[in-house]
Subunit: 201 residues, 2 copies
Amino acid sequence: MALSDKQIRKMKAKRDKILDQAIILFSEHGYNDTTISKVAKASGVSFGSVFTYFENKEELFHHAVVERLKDLSPLLLDFNSNPEDPYKELESMIDKHIRLFANVGTYLRLVTQVIGQHQRFERQFKELDQFYRTFRYKIADLVAQGQSSGQLHREIDPITSSIAYTSFLMGIRLNLADQPEHDIWADFAPVAMQLFSPNIS
Amino acid sequence: MALSDKQIRKMKAKRDKILDQAIILFSEHGYNDTTISKVAKASGVSFGSVFTYFENKEELFHHAVVERLKDLSPLLLDFNSNPEDPYKELESMIDKHIRLFANVGTYLRLVTQVIGQHQRFERQFKELDQFYRTFRYKIADLVAQGQSSGQLHREIDPITSSIAYTSFLMGIRLNLADQPEHDIWADFAPVAMQLFSPNIS
DNA sequence: TGAAAATGATTGATCAATCAATCTTTAACA
DNA sequence: TGTTAAAGATTGATTGATCAATCATTTTCA
């Protein structure tokens, strides 16, 4: 007796709700202080139901980290690493990234936990690290373009610039822990640009 | 029957050992996965002894965060915010900070946890935040000096610069999680300088 | 000898995971 | 259309493990 489409949709919605609340709770209270019971209560589901959607707590955590990454990665990679005007493209990239980081504070707090305790969360860390490698290199490509065109100084290695920039984004996110307001975040876009040593300003 | 000096020294050493191991374990495995039993084993002390030196686990964590901060804060504030040559002073400050951050990775991982979960670790966060305010403003003072002297562009607000710089330091620390090697860290000093928009380069 | 530190077994609380019982949905058939 | 039975989702009480904290006993030291 297979499930109807309606039923499947209903269950998917339930799963999503559990995962959403898990992300919030894990990010605010950490792995151990987020009990299955709290996740169940927060998502309006019985204790036992959590286990019909996720094999165990570790698996729930894993999906919390990995599934949201899948949503975010195309947004983070949404820039052209071989554009006509690298400087303009960098500016537009920074603008997008800053907006994005300002809005995904909860998830990035979770990411911070995984990075900070990568021994403990080895499996999740590997997933994040793999994406980060792609991200880093794509930015470095764009920086290299900028340097070739003479719009950026050549003194700094593109990969170093790229690591500096991504570190800066994460650092700002940590720093402005509870300020999603765009006004504050927008102030940091010109500062981020400085990291790439522009020749013109 | 008062304790002898020798005895007091011995006990202080024991307390230090417990605290040192607690910092390592808390930073690598987080609060809940660091059991008192593990701390006791790691520091070569009986389970019960931990409680003669620290009232409870929460207190042990608090001291792990706060006491190390007391050691580090004078080192972080060891620069002149009203020097003859602000540019040179900034360079020297950055150099010191980079060296320091490269060497206190374990403790900074702990700091990251407290910041990332400031609701959960409210008391510890307040202590860190109070120091950070001082730190931030002292850097901003130096930047303001640099702007007045014309060595730095005026386009960016000194406090914004200061937040950007401290965010950058923490971000790099997160990023290079397990690389205390100075070579890699040293590459980031010139990038950090860029955050202050120097007029000469 | 007595005062204080050290020890680890015990206790009570908490939590992940299981599982038997119940409820809901679906499809076959009259 | 109404009835029924099977499939599968939902539930929360129970279980077993883990851990912080206590405390009675032992050890150390002046």
